[in-house]
């Protein structure tokens, strides 16, 4: 069974078409990069997969069932600016909030919840900082907090929205390694990014999106320059092509 299957997805936002006939699948063990220019509909596609936005047509199937918020076993890592970093909360408490939906109303976190938080913090190597207020963390540490929060649900599918934005190269490299190993641990990982170099380097598969799927394949198979110029709307002499080694 596929971890994630998107079929014929159409999404409109404010009466304008944003996604048309999007077809996408994801298997466990894959790290898939979702690439496209601003306004291509990358975040909208993630939100549609999470069933957070109304779709016009098409289906999203997660492990054989229709996607439902909080029920599908998808770990979501939104963009860093969605999070209130000046909130007086420690790293471990912030990660624990990832289990709020599963706990349900009126239930307090128990031993199993704290164990899940501990495992998630170990996984992103933040255990030593677990009592630190989130406001005192660096950008890379913050990104790892968000990943740990998603991992606290032990998801089999992980969606990452622009995890590299605003981070320096060493931090990007470290996070890239983390995502590769998370995928190898039998998870299906889908991430949107503008960092083409990192995507070509570490993803097992790339999906080029611009309102519709332009291309979908292994990085080595996407060397036709036209795919990239079509997706990003750049000229044939754009340095972008050198970046992704397309000819």
């Amino acid at each position: 069974m596929r971890a994630l299957e998107v079929e014929g997805l159409d999404v409109d936002l404010g009466g304008r078409p944003v996604l048309r006939d999007v077809r996408l699948h994801l298997d466990r063990g894959e790290l898939v990069g979702l690439l496209g220019p601003n306004g291509a509909g990358k975040t909208t596609l993630l939100r549609a997969i999470l069933a957070l936005t109304r779709t016009r047509a098409g289906t999203v199937t997660v492990e054989g069932n229709p996607s439902r918020p909080g029920r599908s076993g998808i770990g979501y890592v939104p963009q860093r600016h969605e999070f209130t970093w000046d909130f007086p909360i420690s790293v471990e408490q912030a990660v624990l909030t990832g289990r709020t939906g599963r706990l349900g109303l009126l239930r307090r976190p128990g031993v199993s919840d704290w164990r899940a938080v501990g495992d998630a913090l170990d996984r992103v190597q933040l255990t030593g900082l677990r009592r630190r207020p989130v406001g005192e963390l660096s950008g890379g540490q913050r990104q790892r907090v968000l990943v740990a929060r998603a991992l606290a649900l032990a998801p089999r599918i992980l969606l990452l929205d622009e995890p590299f934005t605003g981070l320096d190269m060493p931090t990007q490299e470290m996070l890239g390694d983390l995502f590769v190993s998370l995928a190898r641990e039998d998870r299906a990982v889908l991430m949107t990014t503008h960092d083409l170099v990192a995507a070509v380097d570490s993803c097992t598969r790339l999906v080029l999106l611009n309102g519709r799927i332009v291309a979908d394949g292994r990085p080595a198979d996407l060397q036709d320059a036209e795919l990239w110029t079509t997706t990003f709307g750049v000229s044939a002499t754009s340095p972008l092509l050198k970046l992704v080694r397309a000819t």
Binding site: L50, F83, T84, P109
Partner: protein
């Protein structure tokens, strides 16, 4: 007036309104302190302001009809909170403009309604600036009961409120009903405001909601501590403010708010780690404290080993 004299007055049966006023002021400032933590952390002070003004027409109607002021205010506040939440769904106008429209509109409605009551000037003053006299015994129970309901709901929904404050998008993805949690929070803010109106008055009630919570935020980086400190600061302000107001014959609402403001300023100066004076005193000995808004990078290490947890 000495504290002993104040205590004697509190026990004097001829001054029965004084302990009642004290009880209501303390109860309402405790509730406001707790709820105010969410208001401060979510940056929704303007919503608090709107709700505070929005309860006015309800109170005016209750006054004209001789009904319960607390109940009238609660109904009007909740209706306005719902209207704001619904109108804010239209993204063409920003939420703060919607709030601005309803805030002033509701207040204007209240003024027109209350002007229909004979001899309204005196009661208007009371609504706007608070008063310690003329509190019916019934209000004591209404305020106490409402306060317990509000605190109970905060306790029950705390982890959901925190999740929504932290990250709305993630909360939706987790299956939380962000819209309804917002509505419940607005209603809680409304109730906290309504039970405080009697002593503090309509204009100043926002201070009870914001100032103790803001002062508490300066003093700690831990939410649990903040939510205990804020009601303590609010309650202390109420007791000290009422004492000063009684001693020096100053308006009670204004005096309570001034005490809370003084506590806020002291917290701003001497807060541990981040206070203005604390930082100055520390400078010669310890290292520069970390600026919370600017994360400290660890240069020169591709995979920085995580340093030991911050000393707390």
């Amino acid at each position: 007036m000495s504290i002993t004299e104040f205590l004697t007055d509190l026990l004097n049966p001829d001054l029965a309104f004084l302990p009642k006023a004290l009880a209501i002021a303390v109860m309402s400032s405790i509730v406001c302190g707790v709820v105010g933590c969410y208001v401060v952390l979510r940056g929704m002070a303007f919503i608090g302001d709107a709700v505070a003004h929005a309860v006015f027409p309800g109170i005016a109607v209750a006054f004209v009809l001789q009904g319960s002021l607390v109940l009238g205010g609660a109904v009007a506040g909740v209706v306005t909170a719902l209207l704001i939440a619904i109108f804010a769904q239209n993204r063409r106008i920003k939420e703060d403009s919607i709030i601005g429209v309803f805030l002033v509109g509701a207040f204007a409605l209240g003024i027109v309604i209350i002007s229909q009551a004979p001899g309204y000037a005196g009661s208007l003053q009371q609504f706007l600036f608070g008063s310690i006299t003329g509190i019916p015994d019934r209000d004591l129970y209404v305020v106490g009961g409402t306060g317990l309901v509000v605190l109970g709901l905060v306790l029950a929904l705390h982890k959901e409120f925190v999740a929504v404050c932290l990250d709305r998008e993630m909360s939706r993805a987790m299956g939380l009903s962000v819209f309804w949690l917002d509505i419940v929070l607005y209603v809680l803010v409304t109730l906290a405001v309504v039970i405080s109106l009697q002593t503090i008055g309509n204009i100043l009630v926002l201070a009870l909601l914001i100032t103790p919570a803001a002062a508490a935020r300066l003093l700690t980086d831990r939410l649990g501590v903040m939510m205990l400190l804020a009601p303590v600061i609010g309650g202390t302000s109420a007791v000290v403010g009422l004492y000063l107001s009684w001693s020096y014959d100053t308006p009670v609402g204004g005096t309570i708010v001034l005490v809370a403001t003084a506590i806020f300023l002291v917290a701003w100066l001497v807060a541990p780690r981040h206070g203005l004076l604390t930082r100055r005193w520390r400078r010669p000995s310890g290292p520069e404290p970390v600026d919370v808004n600017r994360p400290a990078p660890l240069p020169g290490l591709a995979h920085p080993p995580d340093p030991s947890p911050a000393v707390r």
